[in-house]
């Protein structure tokens, strides 16, 4: 576990010193500020707009970080051969993958907290109050980001960064279309219905993490639903990390 933490710390250090991260974060903070402007031009819906855009902005910025940093977490190390100095030490390859996951997870935690602080400050400045549901939504956003880190990390073990980014993006788009796809499947013929049923069981349903509408319209999220979502994410992330480890175990350099 010590080695995994060392790799995580190393990944965290590397990513927070990457200039690209600051560029994306600057864009994110600008976006948070822009929610006030966009809210003010809406018709008495400014708090709703700020909540909706704020939560979406936090997710988008962090997702951009995953696409730019997460998708080359392993492939960059292989390309630059920096992985040689790690894997020849007395550690397991699974430790490397777990460390990478925790490291980027920690980076995203920091960026999520920073952006959330601005988001909360904007809400307080607008006297919008702070319903606990906002924090549940932020926690779910972070959980979805961890999910996407695991997907990006898995692809990063065997594909180039661009391909890995495209696959992760495809997973994200399919994951958020799963509810619509299932509805479509109910009306389709038996073959398509069966195919969609298989896809919906294999690929993740990322809509489980999206409670923006509940936040905007103040609709409570049930306890069991929240617990089930956490378990769902945990199980999927574990499987993705196991797949990534297995791929890396077979890799030769």
């Amino acid at each position: 576990m010590k080695a995994a933490i060392a790799i995580a710390l190393n990944t965290f250090r590397e990513s927070i010193r990457d200039r690209l991260l600051y560029a994306i974060l600057f864009f994110g903070l600008l976006l948070m500020g822009a929610t006030v402007l966009l809210g003010s031009i809406s018709l008495d819906q400014d708090v709703k707009v700020i909540k909706d855009l704020g939560l979406a902005g936090i997710f988008i910025v962090n997702f951009l970080i995953i696409l730019s940093v997460g998708t080359n977490l392993v492939s960059k190390e292989i390309d630059r051969k920096s992985i040689y100095a790690v894997l020849t030490k007395p550690i397991e390859r699974s430790t490397f993958i777990i460390g990478k996951f925790i490291g980027l997870g920690a980076t995203l935690f920091v960026t999520t907290v920073m952006m959330s602080a601005v988001f909360v400050a904007v809400l307080l400045a607008k006297n919008a109050g702070l319903p606990p549901l906002i924090f549940v939504a932020l926690a779910f956003t972070y959980l979805e980001l961890l999910f996407l880190v695991a997907i990006a990390l898995m692809f990063s073990t065997f594909t180039a960064p661009v391909a890995s980014a495209l696959y992760t993006l495809a997973f994200f788009l399919i994951g958020h279309s799963m509810t619509s796809l299932t509805r479509f499947g109910e009306q389709a013929g038996p073959f398509v219905k069966g195919l969609i049923a298989v896809v919906s069981h294999v690929l993740p349903n990322l809509e489980k993490f999206n409670i923006k509408n509940q936040v905007v319209y103040d609709v409570a999220v049930s306890g069991p639903q929240s617990i089930w979502t956490v378990v769902y994410a945990g199980a999927y992330i574990t499987v993705l990390i196991m797949i990534a480890t297995n791929i890396l175990r077979r890799q030769e350099f």
């Binding site: 190393n10 010193r17 051969k81 040689y84 100095a85 894997l87 007395p90 550690i91 350099f253």
Partner: protein
């Protein structure tokens, strides 16, 4: 005499759509404890692939590799092994000191000892003054020195160096040779690849010559070389005959 490294019938084949190619073929050799062994061969002979198989970065198709009588890829063995790759490259946004401490934590070295060892090794390789500089500002030679320092961090009993003298200026080469001689005096076993045969002759007790994946010759230098023949002349004669 104890055997530090034992390679038996080692082969490596790569298979792709065009068929398979054998990069290393039935390689058998052993290196005694405390010996400096030079692994020589022209470009593409299979030297780097062999080293990668020894340190666990590639897997043999056939054959066995043992270090101090144990499977070379076991964790217990890897804790006793130091490795420096050819043209080493490290985390560009870390400082040299941070990278050394990171490497030490992978070797499970306690933080206080890690700090002291990192400092003394960085001083030994001439990087003490730049320990707080990010690696991305380092030259090729400085990366090479850092690679050497991290290979020695765990106080390994056997050290594998892939082209350690490649790309170094003459002063750097002198420094490296001095450090390797010091390690030899400490009783460390060193296995390294090099194209610079005069340096190999100066440093090594034994050599192995590989060509097209096959070991042509292996043994102590004093047995392989005749009185008037340099290693370079010998190498050209042996490898040239097989071309």
């Amino acid at each position: 005499m104890h055997i530090a490294l034992s390679i038996r019938n080692l082969s490596k084949e790569y298979t792709n759509f065009g068929g398979s190619s054998r990069v290393v073929s039935n390689l058998t050799l052993s290196v005694a404890d405390g010996e400096v062994f030079g692994f020589l061969g022209p470009n593409g002979a299979g030297k780097t692939t062999t080293i990668k198989m020894i340190v666990g970065l590639a897997f043999p198709t056939r054959g066995t590799i043992e270090i101090f009588g144990q499977h070379a890829h076991s964790r217990a063995v890897r804790a006793r092994v130091g490795f420096m790759s050819e043209n080493p490259y490290f985390y560009s946004y870390l400082t040299a000191g941070e990278f050394m401490r990171f490497s030490a934590s992978l070797l499970n070295i306690p933080p206080k000892m890690a700090k002291d060892r990192a400092q003394s090794l960085l001083a030994m390789v001439g990087l003490r003054e730049v320990a707080d500089r990010q690696i991305r500002t380092f030259s090729k030679g400085m990366n090479q020195r850092l690679g050497f320092a991290q290979a020695l961090l765990g106080d390994p009993d056997i050290i594998f160096l892939d082209e350690p003298l490649d790309g170094l200026d003459p002063l750097g080469r002198v420094d490296f040779k001095r450090m390797m001689q010091a390690l030899k005096k400490e009783g460390k076993t060193i296995f390294f690849n090099s194209h610079i045969l005069s340096d190999v002759q100066e440093l090594c007790d034994s050599v192995g010559i590989i060509h097209k994946g096959k070991l042509l010759e292996v043994g102590p230098l004093r047995r392989l070389l005749s009185a008037r023949e340099s290693l370079e002349e010998h190498f050209i004669r042996i490898v040239g005959a097989k071309r």
